[in-house]
């Protein structure tokens, strides 16, 4: 009997194997979309399927949230890339031979992320995250321009260092759990570790958490460790940027949160909350200021991702049911909105043939519908009222305000700074005299519109079932 949690990993991997064998990119794109849709269906099925705790796998309400976001954005990105990549081949930016591997890698990446998400074994979780990272490295370097190779190399180096440090932290967690749980598999099983956290050596847990924070924090893109992120986003194909921002950062954050739950179980160990609050705030404010100097549109939104990951880490660092709820909600909203923005940016880059903000003026004249969608998406990520991001940001700020009024000023300040920068750039790109060429846009706008609609609806009305589900997940986080 194959469980749904196994399928959510197996289907993408099988699809990847299948895609390697398919030569034509049109058929490959179709298979890619179908496989993603199938994974999405299974992922949604997990909500109904209930919970499961095994030696290697775990399904609880907390990771279902992540898996569902993963499969949703994975599906829409597959849809987007089917039309987007076709255009890249037409203009000769990508040789068609690469496409076979592009789709296979896409599915393998989705499978690896899902593997990391369902893993109950901290070693398997690490392997899943490592594989997902490696595949994205190859995808970032896909265009093989000097810039993209440089970006991929930087990403490669920094991510590998992060991987190594996280692995050392994993070994330390094992050593901490060993006296209580015995040698072998149990001391690497997350659910058992969490249960017996109170009897673990606090000092080892401290050290382990520092390593895990630096290691996985590199992949989350937290401020001093973020250097790879803008390059990787800017130089890879746009669907990859969407997946990086919308999903991979989340999965790394997920791993960090799992370990936070273990460390929080030992009162004598250091409290992970304040550390995460500080790192989150530093990322948020730093990225907000960096937004002003960006001249590349994808880099701009890469920094915006750092900003929002900072806010999410801040919320989880605050802890408590309400702040965790707000953090989860903001993570979901950010994933949807940011990947939507990258879809829009992909359209713009194809329309204008460039990623430079200075050369993308007057979008409202040349591509009015795209301009409206882009403007709405940017307003959404800025946290403008009707959209879901507003709801989650509002919730984070109010919960912080209720507990530490002065502390709430800092994220509010960072968000305002970022808001200003994004509006400035939005105005530059959408209005003004059109510059440069205006190509036809081939890529499908369905995913972009879908994401915007989802964010819009969730800003106005969140179904009670969804709220209850997120609340239960937030309570698990403690």
């Amino acid at each position: 009997m194959i469980h749904a949690y196994q399928l959510v990993v197996l289907v993408p991997y099988m699809a990847a194997l299948l895609l390697v064998a398919i030569p034509g990119y049109r058929l490959g794109a179709v298979v890619n979309v179908v496989a993603s849709a199938l994974t999405l269906a299974i992922g949604l099925g997990l909500i109904a399927g209930g919970q499961f705790v095994g030696d290697y796998a775990i399904v609880d309400e907390f990771n279902i949230v992540f898996i569902v976001i993963n499969t949703v954005v994975g599906f829409t990105t597959a849809l987007f890339s089917a039309s987007y990549i076709g255009h890249e081949i037409e203009i000769g930016r990508l040789p068609a031979g690469f496409l076979r591997f592009y789709h296979a890698m896409f599915q393998a990446m989705m499978g690896s992320m899902n593997l990391a998400l369902v893993a109950n074994n901290i070693g398997v979780m690490w392997v899943g995250l490592e594989l997902a990272t490696l595949i994205t490295v190859v995808m970032v370097g896909l265009y093989r321009t000097p810039q993209s190779i440089e970006a991929a190399w930087k990403y490669f180096i920094l991510a590998s260092v992060g991987i190594s440090l996280a692995f050392f932290g994993t070994i330390l967690i094992y050593l901490a759990g060993q006296p209580a749980l015995g040698e072998g598999l149990p001391a690497m099983t997350w659910s058992l570790l969490q249960r017996s956290a109170a009897s673990m050596d606090a000092a080892i847990l401290d050290l382990a958490f520092i390593f895990l924070l630096v290691g996985y924090g590199t992949k989350v893109g937290l401020a001093p460790l973020h250097a790879w992120l803008p390059d990787a986003h800017a130089e890879g194909p746009t669907p990859v940027s969407a997946v990086l921002s919308g999903l991979l950062l989340n999965v790394a954050l997920y791993a960090l949160l799992r370990f936070k739950m273990v460390v929080a179980g030992q009162p004598a160990a250091l409290d992970p909350g304040p550390i995460m609050v500080v790192m989150g705030l530093v990322s948020l404010i730093f990225a907000a200021f960096m937004l002003y100097q960006r001249r590349d549109i994808k880099r701009l939104f890469a920094y915006s991702s750092i900003e929002h990951m900072g806010l999410i880490v801040f919320a989880f660092g605050m802890g408590g049911a309400l702040a965790n709820f707000a953090g989860l909600l903001h993570m979901a909203m950010h994933s949807l909105t940011k990947s939507g923005i990258f879809f829009a940016v992909g359209h713009i880059a194809q329309a204008k043939g460039t990623q430079r903000i200075a050369e993308i003026k007057g979008l409202s004249v040349t591509h009015p519908r795209l301009a409206v969608a882009f403007a709405l998406a940017v307003l959404a990520i800025c946290g403008m009222p009707p959209f879901g991001v507003f709801a989650s940001e509002f919730l984070i700020l109010t919960t912080t305000f209720a507990r530490h009024p002065w502390l709430a000023l800092l994220p509010a300040f960072g968000l305002l700074v970022g808001f200003g920068a994004l509006l400035l750039r939005l105005q530059e790109t959408v209005f003004g005299e059109p510059v440069g060429p205006a190509h036809r846009v081939d890529a499908s706008s369905v995913p972009m519109v879908l994401h915007l609609a989802l964010v819009f609806v969730s800003g106005i009305f969140l179904p009670p079932a969804l709220v209850g589900w997120f609340q239960r997940a937030a309570e698990l986080l403690g």
Binding site: N121, V127, G184, D201, L207
Partner: protein, 218 residues
């Protein structure tokens, strides 16, 4: 000579080769030092496999010996010759400073582990401290060397330290799997150097070139 002596000796020898990696200024010598370290790691893992009676670790030892002790150093030797960068390594800081920082990191590793793992058995603690020092020194090497090949070597040295730490943690499952996963990573690394012919992180220190890389010029 008891079992503890041997594992401790091998781990200590690995630490010494880590310093040799920091010290060497010719790429060929760096690669040789790395091969030495990997072979020592293979011995250490094989010893752990024998003394702890964990036959699966022999696979890890074999991977360390074959891949990192022989194949990769040879492949990198060839790459370096073909790229014509075998003369010297561009350094960000001098050997003296690098060694001093390396010593400080080694001290830090010991201090952390002694403080942290006071409860565990002393030999496990020492192994862990040495492994952490090797990891940190590999990290340092990646920072102070600009050249892509030496960065790869620095990473692999880091990874050697991790494998050492994992074998030192008694009964840790998945060590073999993780070492395989790491090998895939390393193979990709070497492949990247080989295929993309990355000479250095930046071919020139021209400010404009750096700006272009950041996408922020004009």
């Amino acid at each position: 000579m008891n079992g503890y002596d041997i594992s401790h000796l091998l781990a200590g020898a690995m630490l010494v080769t880590s310093f040799a990696l920091l010290y060497q200024d010719r790429i060929a010598a760096v690669l040789n030092a790395f091969a030495m370290q990997s072979i020592t790691l293979a011995l250490a893992v094989a010893w752990a496999a024998w003394s702890d009676d964990r036959p699966d670790l022999y696979i890890t030892a074999l991977i360390a010996l074959a891949l990192k002790g022989i194949v990769i150093p040879l492949a990198l030797h060839r790459t370096v010759e073909r790229l014509g960068i075998h003369h010297s390594v561009e350094k960000v800081v001098g050997v003296g400073v690098a060694l001093m920082v390396g010593l400080a990191l080694t001290g830090l590793a010991q201090a952390l582990v002694v403080k942290v793992a006071s409860g565990t058995a002393s030999h496990a603690r020492e192994q862990l401290a040495l492994a952490l020092a090797i990891v940190l020194l590999g990290f340092l090497m990646m920072i102070v060397r600009r050249n892509a090949v030496t960065q790869v070597v620095g990473f692999m040295s880091m990874e050697n330290g991790l494998i050492l730490a994992a074998t030192g943690a008694r009964g840790m499952p998945l060590v073999v799997e993780v070492s395989v996963a790491f090998s895939v990573l390393i193979a990709l690394f070497v492949f990247a150097v080989f295929v993309f012919r990355i000479r250095e992180r930046f071919d020139t220190v021209d400010i404009e070139a750096l700006d272009r890389m950041r996408g922020d010029s004009r």
